[in-house]
């Protein structure tokens, strides 16, 4: 296998690696470098300013608001999404009527539920965000008219226009669009847990809740943990940018009184609206640190003895 091996390796790696280095690696390195300059992005001239951008960032009230919202996303969204998805997946796989002596059974039509739940996953987050922007419309939106129809006409919240509600509304949309994915993922994991584990537990008199916490969850732990990280990275990155940028406009973007601004959107605004490219990369570096810290914490906290079956 030695004949022409290195020529082949170089030939095959050159194009992908060049593309990746030019469009991904190089910009990443550059952006860390630019965070120590006063580059505006509008002209090619800049000078080194040391840690000026960083000290400015630490005094920036809107930056701290973005950090707070992004952290809320990273903590609340995985918690709610993974929690709901585990609940639904358990219902789908174990919540059914017992048939033919099987210890556990999935509900009838579980494949139908899985197909439907997965719908939002194939849609663009931009389309989902637009759709819900209309659904949240206080005057003619779908949600407020449902409230009217069921006799709750006195409760007509301003949803996205209300600084106290806007962030929750945005998070609800992200939950809506991602739960299905995790339901399907966890269902696949649950299906591979041997049936006799459940048999044995039921014979010992364990109820479904004990079964869930003593059997299902420990055996599914790896999947849950990676799902948690995956969802957190989504919530910190591109997905949160799309929903917040599209759904909450406000005079400055990022919702009424910056009530929904998140880190990626703030980077975008500083770089492409305010002509402060260097400062934008500084905020981007902060986002990078938050993302890596999040992944590290989840892995540290979630570390358990691995169960094999």
């Amino acid at each position: 296998m030695q004949h022409g091996k290195y020529r082949f390796i170089v030939g095959f790696l050159a194009a992908p690696l060049a593309l990746y280095a030019l469009f991904v690696i190089w910009p990443f390195i550059q952006s860390i470098y630019y965070s120590f300059t006063d580059w505006t992005g509008l002209s090619p001239d800049f000078t080194m300013v040391g840690f000026d951008n960083y000290s400015r960032m630490l005094d920036d009230e809107i930056f701290w608001k973005s950090v707070q919202h992004s952290l809320t996303f990273a903590v609340v969204l995985p918690l709610v999404t993974v929690g709901l998805a585990l609940f639904f997946a358990f219902m789908l796989n174990v919540g059914g009527r017992r048939r033919g002596g099987a210890a556990i059974a999935g509900v009838r039509g579980s494949s139908f539920y899985k197909i439907v739940y997965f719908f939002p996953q194939v849609l663009s987050i931009a389309i989902v965000a637009l759709l819900f922007q209309f659904a949240y419309n206080p005057n003619s939106g779908a949600i407020n008219s449902v409230l009217k129809a069921v006799g709750l006409g006195s409760i007509q919240p301003d949803w996205l226009g209300d600084p106290d509600l806007a962030l929750i509304c945005v998070m609800a949309v992200l939950v809506w669009s991602t739960v299905g994915f995790f339901v399907v993922l966890f269902s696949a994991g649950m299906a591979s847990i041997p049936r006799d584990f459940y048999e044995a537990a039921l014979l010992d008199g364990a109820n479904r809740f004990t079964t869930f916490f003593k059997i299902t969850l420990p055996l599914l732990w790896d999947t849950v943990q990676s799902g948690w990280i995956y969802m957190g990275i989504l919530a910190l990155g591109a997905e949160s940018f799309a929903v917040v940028q599209i759904m909450t406009v406000g005079p400055n973007g990022g919702g009424p009184d910056f009530s929904t601004i998140v880190l990626p959107l703030y980077v975008y605004q500083k770089a492409f609206r305010d002509g402060q490219a260097a400062y934008a990369t500084t905020i981007g570096v902060a986002l990078l640190i938050v993302t890596l810290a999040f992944a590290a914490i989840v892995m540290k906290v979630g570390r358990r003895e691995r169960l094999e079956f």
Partner: protein, 312 residues
């Protein structure tokens, strides 16, 4: 890549009744079964209840959008949930022509078509070499690719904008294709490297002994064998690239070059001034339907493709 902390067979949490554990006495068993049966029935009703509620919550917004796209503007505002008084197909034709949905579709097709082919070709080439050949720097290059998965893209986008500008790639479809490929490589390489490692080495060796070059072995022997993996990662990338919003929003801002998702967002902003909400909803539904239809037809493959390696 998963590590096992304890090399053991079937370690269970203390108190867990699973496994071959203590024998169950025969007296307890029937009673336990009876209560479990009653519990099963109530649980069955309850689980169907919550499952149906969530199914409705998923489907209703989509049905509402379809319904709204057939209504007149006036009906949209006065009675959001009523059925349309007739099928106003003119909303759809207005969206297709006047609102440039046809252009957005064409641009998206071109960009996704080009980048999907490029991603699969470059991704499988790099993955094959990294999976099957030992050379200095192999591990380093592998982790360089993998690292791209967890980094926030927005951080790179600020300098990338100016890199593209200097290379005259900004606001061009081929520039967008190159960027899509580059940002799809981390996951593609990660997934396909694992896949190529699982393929038997003997077939490639036989081809090589028969005098095929490395390149020929790759294209005529290995790629056909890797077809299931290519389909999974292809579906994953297709949906990701078709639905991409962040990259085009930053790198492709010229109105006539826009792709579907950003075009719709622009449409929403401009329709706000024109007041053509029905046309906008028609555009939204038009963008949703092909993907949903494709998903329902290829449901099994799509689910496998999206979940296979997404969380590993």
């Amino acid at each position: 890549m998963k590590t096992t902390d304890t090399a053991s067979t079937g370690v269970e949490t203390p108190g867990s009744p699973a496994g071959p554990g203590p024998a169950v006495t025969k007296i307890e068993a029937p009673a336990a079964r009876r209560t479990a049966k009653a519990e099963g029935a109530t649980l069955n009703v309850f689980s169907h209840g919550v499952l149906i509620i969530w199914a409705i919550m998923v489907v209703m917004p989509l049905l509402w959008a379809v319904m709204t796209s057939f209504k007149t503007d006036k009906a949209i505002f006065t009675s959001p949930w009523s059925l349309p008084d007739g099928l106003h197909f003119e909303n759809w034709s207005r969206a297709w022509t006047e609102a440039h949905m046809s252009d957005y579709f064409l641009n998206t097709l071109l960009v996704v078509g080009g980048s999907l082919v490029g991603t699969l070709l470059f991704g499988s080439m790099a993955a094959y070499v990294l999976a099957r050949f030992e050379f200095p720097g192999n591990r380093f290059i592998y982790f360089l690719f993998i690292g791209g998965m967890s980094f926030p893209i927005i951080l790179a986008l600020v300098p990338l904008f100016y890199v593209m500008q200097n290379m005259a790639l900004l606001n061009t479809l081929h520039g967008l294709i190159l960027v899509y490929i580059a940002y799809s490589l981390p996951f593609t390489v990660f997934f396909l490297t694992a896949f190529f490692r699982t393929l038997p080495t003997s077939v490639a060796e036989a081809a090589f002994v028969d005098g095929a070059s490395h390149t020929r072995t790759f294209f005529q022997v290995m790629l056909p064998m890797a077809k299931p993996g290519l389909i999974s990662v292809g579906i994953f990338n297709f949906l990701g690239q078709w639905n991409q919003y962040l990259l085009p929003t930053v790198l492709n801002t010229e109105p006539e070059k826009k792709v579907l998702s950003q075009g719709l967002v622009q449409l929403a902003v401009s329709q706000g001034y024109k007041g053509d909400w029905s046309g906008l909803f028609a555009g939204l539904v038009m963008a949703m339907l092909p993907v949903l239809a494709a998903y329902i037809i290829f449901q099994r493959q799509v689910v496998a493709g999206l979940t296979a390696g997404a969380v590993k």
